[in-house]
């Protein structure tokens, strides 16, 4: 800011240069504009739903076209109508429901066991120094073990029955839950803890009324990851030493080269993903009403 004029006339200098560059204040409202909102206006519900399914629908239509005009060999990827027919016959005969219910109960039980174990350990390690010292190093070691490598060992220990399968799913789904619960309960604003201390909250009330609600977003992320881990582990356990479940159905289809059944199973796994996402969103909505209040206000 040196040059044309001295300090005392800097303002005048600025005015001179801005006039030279054509800047001037206008009282004409034609040049004004309405500020654009940060988010685009809320879309109609139907349109939003349609957009969500746009990509899967596009893939299915390309697949149909490819199969119809013979660009895709039907013995490599079965045409959609064959897949649908196969799904229908599997459903009608009850075979699908049988395998599906077995798989779902394995995944659900494993998730419940591993998730609650991880949650409990994570909260304990996150809240107490002693807990952190006792639990965290061991869990970090356990976390590093690829859990699918445990399959042979678990089979030796627990046999080829359900317990080894459920334990493996639990081992997989405990990890993300632990990490998120640990981080979540530590994420609470220090200032809120101080305020709660001033107003005489007991340790237990502090955990249930402050740490856990504040950790909920993390716990939801943990639940999401735990669910996908449970599915991954499910596939792992169901293609080895099993006679029931979606994984077994796939294995069988592979042996008889029934690509349409394989695709039915893949689609079922994909629907699992969609279903778990919906479930977590629902839990989020119910368990964190204060977030909704904030959203509705802004």
């Amino acid at each position: 800011m040196t040059g044309c004029c001295g300090n005392e006339s800097r303002f005048a200098c600025w005015r001179a240069t801005s006039a030279a560059t054509g800047f001037k204040h206008s009282t004409n409202t034609h040049t004004l504009e309405t500020p654009k909102p940060l988010h685009d206006a809320s879309r109609k519900r139907g349109l939003s739903l349609g957009l969500r399914f746009l990509v899967p629908l596009l893939i299915v239509s390309l697949w149909s076209l490819g199969s119809f005009y013979g660009w895709i060999a039907s013995n490599i990827v079965a045409p959609p109508w064959v897949v649908l027919k196969s799904a229908w016959s599997l459903a009608e005969s009850g075979v699908l429901w049988h395998h599906l219910s077995i798989s779902l109960s394995r995944a659900g039980l494993g998730l419940l066991l591993g998730g609650s174990f991880g949650l409990w350990l994570g909260i304990t390690a996150g809240l107490s120094k002693l807990g952190e010292e006792l639990i965290d190093p061991s869990f970090q070691m356990f976390r590093a073990i690829p859990f699918l490598a445990l399959i042979p060992l678990l089979i030796v220990w627990f046999g080829i029955g359900e317990s080894s399968k459920i334990l493996l799913i639990a081992a997989g789904s405990a990890k993300p839950m632990y990490l998120n619960a640990y981080t979540g309960v530590r994420s609470v604003d220090r200032k809120i803890i101080e305020a709660a201390k001033i107003f005489g909250l007991s340790r237990w009330a502090m955990i249930t009324e402050i740490h856990l609600p504040a950790a909920l977003p993390y716990l939801m992320a943990g639940l999401r990851l735990s669910m996908s881990m449970a599915l991954l582990a499910l596939i792992g356990v169901e293609v080895i030493n099993t006679t029931q479940g979606i994984g077994f159905l796939m294995l069988q289809a592979q042996e008889y080269f029934r690509t349409e059944v394989l695709i039915v199973c893949v689609v079922i796994y994909a629907l699992f993903g969609l279903g778990t996402d919906f479930l977590v969103k629902l839990i989020e909505r119910i368990s964190m009403p204060w977030r909704r209040a904030h959203k509705e206000r802004t």
């Binding site: 107003f199 009324e209 609600p213 909920l216 204060w290």
Partner: protein, 254 residues
């Protein structure tokens, strides 16, 4: 003065507190009597908030004696409400929730003018509303010592005036011992019975404000203190309503 006949509510004796190399409190002593409204002034980093946090039990002293009454509450600079609780449970934080306490909390909310907000979520409140909830939360337990840590600093001018009047009337009604930490000389003189200035870990000025001093504008001691540290004191006296935060914050040196 009549306050001296009242029992002591807060006693700090020879207290010292050091953060790494900085001595925040140096052999600091202070008595606050029951029902006394004390304002604590001092420049940034002079230990005002540290003293309050020591009395609140959020910090410990390195040496010395600190005695406080059993029921004490704090209103912080920010509301510090729990976002996962609605307004009423926030006011009842740490208290058993039953019909009696609910009624008390509703009364407290009505007193701060938020009777219709008991079911609101904290995230939907404005800054002034949230701060009034924090005030209701502090008052409902009928504290013997109420600590206010720059509670009006984040509010706009108009809301600040309203809040100051509200605090004044509530404190006159419930007569707790009050410790108000502030940067605002004007606010200190208006609200307090006694104004302390903290400098170099000690009480630099201890001025009692009476109705006479209110009428005269300010105590001589405070005037001399203020004129020595801030040239705009005269301006403050003339205008009567100039926020002295800048002076108090930057130039406070005896």
């Amino acid at each position: 003065m009549s306050q001296h006949t009242l029992p002591v509510a807060v006693r700090v004796k020879q207290a010292s507190k050091q953060f790494s190399v900085k001595k925040v409190l140096d052999q600091f002593s202070l008595d606050i009597h029951e029902g006394e409204f004390v304002a604590l002034l001092g420049k940034s980093g002079s230990g005002k908030t540290t003293l309050l946090r020591i009395l609140a039990g959020l910090e410990t002293v390195d040496a010395g004696e600190v005695l406080v009454p059993p029921v004490r509450t704090v209103v912080f600079q920010e509301p510090r409400l729990i976002e996962s609780k609605r307004v009423l449970p926030n006011v009842l934080l740490g208290l058993p929730i039953d019909d009696d306490t609910r009624r008390a909390a509703k009364n407290a909310l009505a007193e701060v003018g938020l009777a219709s907000h008991e079911d609101a979520w904290p995230s939907t409140l404005s800054g002034g509303e949230a701060q009034r909830v924090a005030l209701a939360r502090a008052l409902i337990r009928q504290p013997q010592l109420l600590m206010l840590d720059e509670p009006f600093a984040a509010l706009d001018a108009l809301t600040r005036l309203k809040m100051q009047a509200l605090v004044q009337s509530l404190c006159q009604r419930y007569t707790p011992a009050v410790l108000l930490v502030t940067h605002d000389v004007d606010e200190a003189i208006q609200l307090a019975d006694r104004v302390l200035v903290l400098a170099d870990g000690k009480v630099a000025v201890d001025a009692r404000i009476s109705l006479n001093t209110h009428a005269a504008g300010a105590m001589p001691a405070l005037t001399s203190y203020a004129s020595s540290c801030c040239r705009r004191w005269a301006c403050f006296r003339n205008s009567g309503r100039l926020c002295m935060r800048e002076c108090a914050g930057n130039n406070l040196r005896r």
